[in-house]
């Protein structure tokens, strides 16, 4: 900008007031485009009928709170991690455990399945993200081939492979996200901007895109360009920590779940919040969210042990699912959308359909 030189001499206070006035201007500009609400336009959409969703499988075996889970691309295997340090790979269709590894730390808060199905990644209080190749050789100890990839200066809250087994994206309590090369453990890109712990992230579902969204304890959701490391969009309407973010299947929007007991939908093209999913009777935080395949349903797991199913377009709650006996901490829809899996502090995982 031509006026950059002037900024050198400005005081902190005047810079702050400039920023404030720009924020005001931005809000004004955005408000001009706010001609209607999503749920109003959605009135013409056919209402969904009665929902009958039940627990179809229960996975028992963890000795403590289940903190995270992820699906394998084969639509049936899942990996889950727990407070007791164990990471388990299950064939959730048969409920058989196929692999188990014990981490050297407790509170394994993040785990992810590699796209090839041949490895898993996990981490937590050890501040690292490690990759374990999955071996079917009974004589081989899974922990032996462990590869330490990411190193943060605080707990690892989330991890995800990008479109290959070779790169991992991580989020941490140290307030940053980072992209790593798995083979060398090298840091490829870091993402700075959150003012507090980053709790979650999700990669954009595009074939060509290079963006992801993250949510944190600073109540902000930020969209990042993976190439440049820059934040390209930010949203700050939640009143407390954002525990979970997930892209709408088209990649044009994303949902968030927060400790303020609401879930919200943000559209990237409108650059604003376009829907809020809340009820007077829901007072506990939402810990994890995910969309059904078409984006019509939003499944949200809460700290009140329930899962609420929302009609994304109309903004109403379609169903409430009881079953877990403690907080729901993690929730993911399966790759082909035939079911979703939830993990809970009650030590179990449930597959619902």
């Amino acid at each position: 900008m031509a006026t950059d030189g002037l900024h050198e001499n400005q005081t902190l206070a005047s810079l702050k007031s400039e920023a404030e006035s720009l924020k005001g201007k931005l809000e004004e500009e955005r408000a001009k485009l706010h001609d209607v609400e999503l749920h109003q336009v959605a009135e013409r959409v056919e209402a969904l009928g009665q929902f009958v969703m039940k627990t179809r499988r229960t996975l028992k075996g963890h000795g403590n709170k289940v903190l995270c889970m992820d699906w394998c691309k084969d639509k049936r295997r899942v990996v889950s991690s727990s407070q007791d340090g164990k990471v388990i790979v299950w064939d959730s269709f048969t409920t058989n455990k196929e692999h188990a590894v014990t981490m050297p730390c407790t509170w394994v808060m993040a785990c992810a399945y590699a796209p090839s199905g041949c490895a898993i990644a996990c981490g937590g209080l050890d501040n690292k993200c490690s990759v374990y190749p999955l071996t079917f050789d009974k004589n081989e100890n899974m922990a032996a081939k462990k590869k330490s990839v990411a190193m943060h200066t605080n707990y690892l809250s989330a991890c995800s492979f990008t479109n290959s087994d070779m790169q991992i994206l991580t989020a941490s309590g140290d307030g940053t996200c980072a992209l790593w090369d798995v083979e060398s453990g090298q840091l490829l890109q870091s993402f700075h901007g959150h003012g507090a712990d980053v709790l979650c992230l999700d990669l954009a579902p595009s074939e060509t895109g290079n963006t992801f969204v993250s949510g944190g304890c600073d109540k902000k959701a930020m969209v990042w360009d993976m190439r440049s490391g820059q934040c390209v969009q930010a949203f700050e309407t939640h009143e407390s920590d954002i525990n979970s973010v997930r892209y709408y299947p088209s990649g044009d929007a994303f949902a968030s779940g927060s400790d303020d007991a609401t879930c919200r939908l943000y559209d990237l093209r409108a650059d604003r919040e376009v829907a809020i999913y809340s009820k007077e009777s829901i007072i506990f935080g939402a810990s994890s969210v995910d969309f059904s395949l078409s984006g019509r349903l939003l499944f949200a797991g809460y700290n009140d042990y329930t899962i609420n199913v929302w009609d994304v377009l109309k903004g109403s709650r379609v169903s409430i699912l009881f079953g877990h006996e403690n907080r729901v901490s993690t929730l993911r829809v399966s790759p082909d959308g035939t079911a979703f899996c939830s993990g809970s502090w009650d030590h179990t995982l449930r597959v619902w359909a």
Partner: protein, 555 residues
């Protein structure tokens, strides 16, 4: 928005504790509890109830609480209200007077409200010495209702072993507490005793019950002020522990610098310059996308032949793995170019089409660049060179057509040989394929044939039929069965049952593999389909309105 410390005020001014996730919930519950006890604005009836020879002071029934919750929080389903009531109890704000287990029932069971002194929002972390004093004093009071439960007796025994050396001290404290208690009014004592017991039911719950004081370790650092934590009910603190093991010291807040604000200003200016869509357009787009894909969403539109999780039959997955795509899958390729690229089978079909036009180098280039981005760091440089040689270098065997500007940028990038070397070129080729080849592909005979399933005896033409295999409703049309004499005559039946459908669908001589969902029927044995006989069931091909069919599960 690239600020270091976000919106937090300078340390010491605002109380960061108030914004901690736990506190947010506590305040909401306290708000509910307060309203519930306010008889001026329609609170619950709190009464003293006569029972045998005594009175039970200050109680309310479960039913009254559940009714109140339903009315005041707009809850339609009593199950939900009971669940919320149970949670409020589990958190320690309401408790059943005759049970250690903190739950809520929609009946005449009596509940009492917890004293604000004992509210969880006071950051209680009572220590074992206090618990020991409490259990000890309970044993000193000779009242039936204060008798220790089994688990409490076990706890007491364990504590006696752990605190063997200072048990005399604990005993004395317990005696002192008993003395204090005796001075109180009888009714007041009843209430206080029950509240104290309920407090311990939260912090030392019955085995098997949820311990609601457990914290999410990621949120623990928020409690910046260890002094605020209350550790002792009876004014006694353990010397060894001065700080809770759960509190991890938080990092010092970085002060906002001029640089931070400058970055923020740059960011804000970029946002102001951004071209955004109107809400009405965005809403239309979201609705259109959802409507287009709803038929592919198994949790909204039942999957065919069945959802494996519901039916325990993995046929659906076997179909998806087979090389022959279903019509529904083929139709999806028509939604967007990305759909073709996403689907392995779609890519193969598109590639074959391009090969027939002698223009497959574009797709191959695009795939190669995708592959490049998946390579480990150490292999990147090599692959960049390979791609350059194959597609872009002068005299390349699979030369792609780039405009001079793109070519310039790319040849510059190649010198650095990074993962994103071909980003610009890839975008250009993507747009080219999308606007040119993709459109022609959709109009091609190859695609149209797949879409209309013109291939003879295709296994997957069942997609054209109404939901034959869904347990939820009865189809109107039936496939005719060809060949096998032991098959039931469907027409004569008139009505369906599941096993009739089964018989109609599968011929007698079944390859063993099919039972376990492996492999699929040889084409020759497949029954005739309605379209073969002119009995037309659904309109083939073309974009269809993706609404759930009438008479389906979701009217």
């Amino acid at each position: 928005m690239a600020q270091g410390s976000g919106d937090q005020r300078a340390v010491g001014i605002a109380d960061p504790e108030e914004s901690s996730p736990n506190m947010i919930v506590y305040r909401k519950i306290e708000d509910i509890i307060t309203k519930m006890q306010d008889d001026k604005t329609g609170g619950v009836p709190i009464r003293t109830v006569k029972s045998f020879l005594s009175k039970i002071p200050s109680v309310v029934t479960g039913t009254d609480i559940v009714q109140w919750l339903m009315k005041n929080l707009c809850i339609e389903d009593p199950v939900e209200a009971i669940h919320l009531g149970s949670l409020i109890a589990a958190q320690g704000y309401i408790f059943p007077i005759s049970d250690h287990v903190l739950t809520m029932k929609d009946d005449g069971t009596f509940y009492r409200f917890q004293a604000p002194y004992f509210w969880p929002s006071n950051c209680w972390e009572p220590e074992n010495t206090d618990y020991a004093i409490y259990l000890c004093k309970r044993t000193m009071q000779n009242k039936a209702r204060l008798e220790l439960a089994d688990y409490e007796a076990e706890n007491l025994a364990r504590l006696q072993r752990a605190f063997a050396r200072k048990w005399e001290f604990i005993f004395m404290q317990a005696e002192a507490q008993v003395k204090i208690d005796r001075k109180k009014d009888k009714t007041e004592r009843k209430i206080l005793d029950s509240q104290e017991r309920a407090f311990w039911d939260v912090h030392r719950p019955v085995p098997g019950c949820v311990n609601t004081t457990e914290m999410d370790i990621r949120k623990c650092r928020r409690l910046k002020n260890p002094q605020k934590v209350k550790k002792s009910v009876y004014g006694v603190t353990e010397e060894s522990q001065s700080q809770s093991p759960v509190h991890i010291p938080s990092q010092p807040i970085r002060k906002t610098t001029k640089e931070d604000i400058r970055k923020q200003i740059t960011f804000l200016n970029a946002q102001i310059d951004r071209h955004c869509l109107k809400m009405s357009k965005v809403a239309e787009s979201l609705i259109a996308y959802t409507e287009q894909y709803v038929e592919y969403d198994p949790l909204v539109t039942p999957a065919e032949p069945s959802n494996p999780w519901i039916s325990d039959d993995i046929t659906l997955w076997d179909i998806e793995m087979s090389k022959e795509p279903s019509q529904q899958r083929v139709k999806r390729w028509g939604f967007s170019f990305d759909e073709v690229l996403k689907d392995q089978v779609g890519r193969d079909q598109f590639r074959r089409f391009l090969e027939s036009e002698f223009s497959s180098e574009n797709l191959r280039f695009w795939l190669a660049v995708q592959d490049l981005k998946k390579q480990p760091l150490q292999d990147v440089a090599k692959r960049v060179e390979e791609i350059w040689q194959e597609f872009l270098a002068p005299g390349a065997p699979s030369a792609i057509n780039l405009d001079s500007h793109s070519y310039e940028i790319t040849s510059q990038n190649v010198k650095d040989g990074g993962r994103y070397t071909f980003e610009d070129a890839q975008e250009h080729i993507y747009k080219l394929m999308k606007s040119d080849s993709y459109a022609r592909f959709l109009r091609s005979n190859a695609y149209q044939d797949l879409l209309l399933a013109k291939k003879k005896g295709s296994f997957l033409r069942t997609k054209m039929q109404p939901k034959l295999f869904c347990n939820q409703h009865r189809p109107k049309e039936a496939p005719l069965c060809q060949g096998s004499t032991s098959c039931v005559d469907i027409e004569a039946q008139g009505m369906w049952t599941e096993d009739v459908l089964e018989k109609a669908r599968l011929p007698l001589a079944l390859p063993h593999g099919l039972r376990t969902g492996q492999g699929w029927l040889p084409q020759s044995s497949w029954p005739l389909l309605p379209s073969d006989t002119g009995r037309h069931v659904a309109s083939p091909g073309g974009p269809q309105k993706a609404h759930p069919e009438p008479g389906g599960l979701y009217p």
